[in-house]
Symmetry: C2
Subunit: 239 residues, 2 copies
Amino acid sequence: MKPQTIKVACSNCNLRELCMPLDLNAEELRRIDELVTTRRKVKRGATLFHNGEKFNSLYAIRTGFFKTCVAAEDGRDQVTGFQMAGEVVGLDGIVNDHHTCNAIALEDAEVCVMPFERIEELSREVNALQRHVHKIMSREIVREHGVMLLLGSMRAEERLAAFLLNLAQRLHARGFSPSELVLRMTREEIGSYLGLKLETVSRTFSKFAEDGIVEVRQRHIRILDAPALQHMAHPVACH
Amino acid sequence: MKPQTIKVACSNCNLRELCMPLDLNAEELRRIDELVTTRRKVKRGATLFHNGEKFNSLYAIRTGFFKTCVAAEDGRDQVTGFQMAGEVVGLDGIVNDHHTCNAIALEDAEVCVMPFERIEELSREVNALQRHVHKIMSREIVREHGVMLLLGSMRAEERLAAFLLNLAQRLHARGFSPSELVLRMTREEIGSYLGLKLETVSRTFSKFAEDGIVEVRQRHIRILDAPALQHMAHPVACH
DNA sequence: CGGCCATTTGACACTAGTCAATGTGAGTGG
DNA sequence: CCACTCACATTGACTAGTGTCAAATGGCCG
C-alpha cells in the first residue's frame, strides 16, 4: 500500500484524460500540476458551494457524485445536472463572481480545488489549457441544449430513457458496466432534473420493468434491452 | 449622411458596452478592433450557421434578431434561445469544432465575424478580453439554468410571463420602451422555446389580455401591468 | 384582389400531477 | 440479533393542465 503522503498530482492522476488536456509536454504538465492548490472532501449531503457564495475556484471531481440545482424565489428548485468523476463544476460562478446554484454531494466525494485566477493565468501561457477551458464551457452549453430539448419536447418515457442511456454511457466511459448502474440520486431528484414528479418517475421505471427493458431494484438498475431504450429516447426515428 | 467607407470598429461601436469588455486602454482597444475581420449580412429567414457546419468564428450581433435551435434525430426541434444586438452566438461550436445548432435570422441582420483563433490569441495577451470571453460563456450557462428551471417546473402562464419580462428587460437595456415590444418570432417559435404548443401560447396571450395584464395585437405587445406579470412569473413568492 | 400563413378559438383526449395509502430497505438502538 | 424507525419508493384513484385536431378569422405580400 502506497504511503498516504504521496501527493496525487494531475500528471499522474488516473482521471487526467477526463479532466485535463491531452497534448501537453513535460514542462506544461508540471505547470498544470500547480493548478490544484488543495483537495477537499465533501461528505454525502454536504454542499461544495452554494447559491450566493463568492466564486473563487472551479472544482474537478476526483471521486463521488454531485448534483447542481438552482432555486426559484418561491422555493421550487430545479436540478440542473448530475456530475461524476472527471467532470468540472463551478462554471456558473464566473459571470457574476458569485455562484448561482448549489452543488451538493450525493455520496462522499473529493474534489480538486482549482483557483480560477490561476487557471486564467496559466491558460494565457499554455495554449492547450486555454483551449481546454473553452471546450469545457462549450461542452456544458451543448449539454444544456440537450436538456432543453428533453424538457421542451419529450414525454416522460423518452426523458427517462434518455437519462438512463446518458448515465450508463458516462459510467461506461469510466470503466463501469455499460448495462448495470446504481443511481446515486432519489426519484425526486431524477424527477426534478427531468421536469417530472417523483411518482411519474417511479411509474415510468415500473413500466420499463414490465416491458422487460430494464430491471429495477430500488436504485440498482440493469439495462436489459439497450436498443429498446434507445428507441424510446428517439421515438419517431424511422421515416 | 456619413460616407459608406467608414469602417465601423469596435472602438467606436455603440454596442461596445454590450459585447466588449469595458476596462480597456487605448492600445488594447486598438487591438480589439482587429478581432472583427468582416461583417456579414444575414437576410430574414437565412441561417448564420447550421448544425454540423465547421466552427470557425463567434458572431456578435450588430443588428437584427436571431433564434438558435437544436434538432432531434426525429425532426422535432427545440429553440434554445433568441438573441439580439450585442449578444454573441456560436459558443456551441467550440467543443467539437462543429456547430451543434442552427442560428437563423428572424429579421434582416448584420453580425461581426470574430475568428475564434484570433479571439484565443488576443485573449492570451489582453486579460480583460480573456475574462470577458469566460464571462460570456458562463453567462450563457447561467441563462440556460434559468431556462431549465422554467421548462422543468413552471406552468404555461408562468413561462410566458417570464419570457415577456425577460424580453422587455433586454430590449429596455438597449434603449427601447420597457413596456412595449414587437415580437420577432412566431407563436410556434415561442412555444418551442417555452416547451409549449403554439395554441397554448396563443391562449395564454389571450388570457393575459382578458386579465388586462398585457395588450396583444398580433406581434405587438404592450405590458399594461408589469407587477402582475412579475407575480405570474414567480407565483408563490408570498409565504 | 387573392392566396397564404399566422393566429385565434373551440371541443375533446390524454399525459402527467395530486393526494393518499401502502410497501420496502437501510440504519439505529435496545 | 432483532425490532423499530424513517426516508424513499411504489401504486391507485382522480384531476388539472396541455396537447390534439379542426375550423374560422385576420393580416400581409405579391
